[in-house]
């Protein structure tokens, strides 16, 4: 449900001119909902950016999400972390 919520919000924000990068905990939900740019992560619910206390992994995933902002498209863009 969280993946759908952020994906739908990404769509709303993007239609108002804000570039978005969405982290997706469930890839098939991102495929169904189709946010403009999404990064599918292999982590369980409750730790979308990586394990608690694992700063290196969290930073790596955040950087990967931010890199999607410079993707040339076309939408929807869906990559694996």
């Amino acid at each position: 449900m969280c993946t759908q919520a952020v994906a739908l919000l990404a769509g709303v924000m993007e239609s108002r001119g804000i570039a978005t990068a969405c982290v997706a905990l469930v890839k098939h939900v991102a495929e169904a909902v189709r946010p403009p740019r999404a990064l599918a992560v292999p982590f369980p619910f409750g730790e979308a950016l990586g394990p608690a206390g694992d700063a290196a992994t969290q930073l790596r995933v955040l950087r990967a999400a931010l890199r999607l902002l410079e993707s040339p498209g076309p939408p929807p863009v869906l990559e694996d972390a």
Partner: protein, 154 residues
């Protein structure tokens, strides 16, 4: 995840974005103003209203100032579909504000936005999210001159 949620998600009709909008990043990432949007339901106790347990989900949001201490936030998500332990111990798993600040200081992004947004992502009926609170949240980011948003579920 408990079986009841697996069963629910297997038959749930996901809401499809069609057509998919596209906003080019207006400036290079290294000069862009970036906001975080989390669906962990984080809020400031004693300052923000807690999220509510209502049918279909609470579609409201809280705006968190850029200088908020993430460790002072309460995890407002009431869903038992996930382990609350990691986000309670380390808010960065869903609201990586210190990492965004670190990237701004290093010049990887332009700057962190003055406000970030927190939703409670357990929303099964997202009409209000798409038609009301989502657009208001987007307007807030537009007012703040935000170029880009990173959205993190939990």
């Amino acid at each position: 995840m408990p079986l009841k949620y697996r069963a629910y998600m297997a038959v749930y009709r996901w809401r499809r974005i069609d057509p998919v909008p596209w906003a080019e990043l207006r400036r290079p990432l290294a000069s862009a103003r970036v906001a975080l949007v989390t669906s962990a339901g984080f809020y400031r106790p004693g300052i923000d209203e807690p999220f509510r347990r209502i049918t279909g989900g609470d579609s409201s949001f809280r705006a968190l100032p850029d200088d908020v201490d993430p460790r002072s936030l309460v995890l407002g998500q009431i869903s038992d579909s996930f382990d609350h332990g990691p986000a309670t111990a380390d808010p960065n798993v869903a609201f990586p504000l210190p990492w965004l600040h670190q990237m701004a200081a290093a010049g990887e992004i332009g700057e962190s936005a003055p406000r970030h947004l927190s939703f409670n992502g357990s929303i099964t009926a997202p009409e209000r999210l798409v038609r009301d609170t989502g657009p208001r949240a987007a307007q807030l980011l537009v007012q703040d001159g935000v170029d880009a948003a990173v959205l993190v579920p939990i």
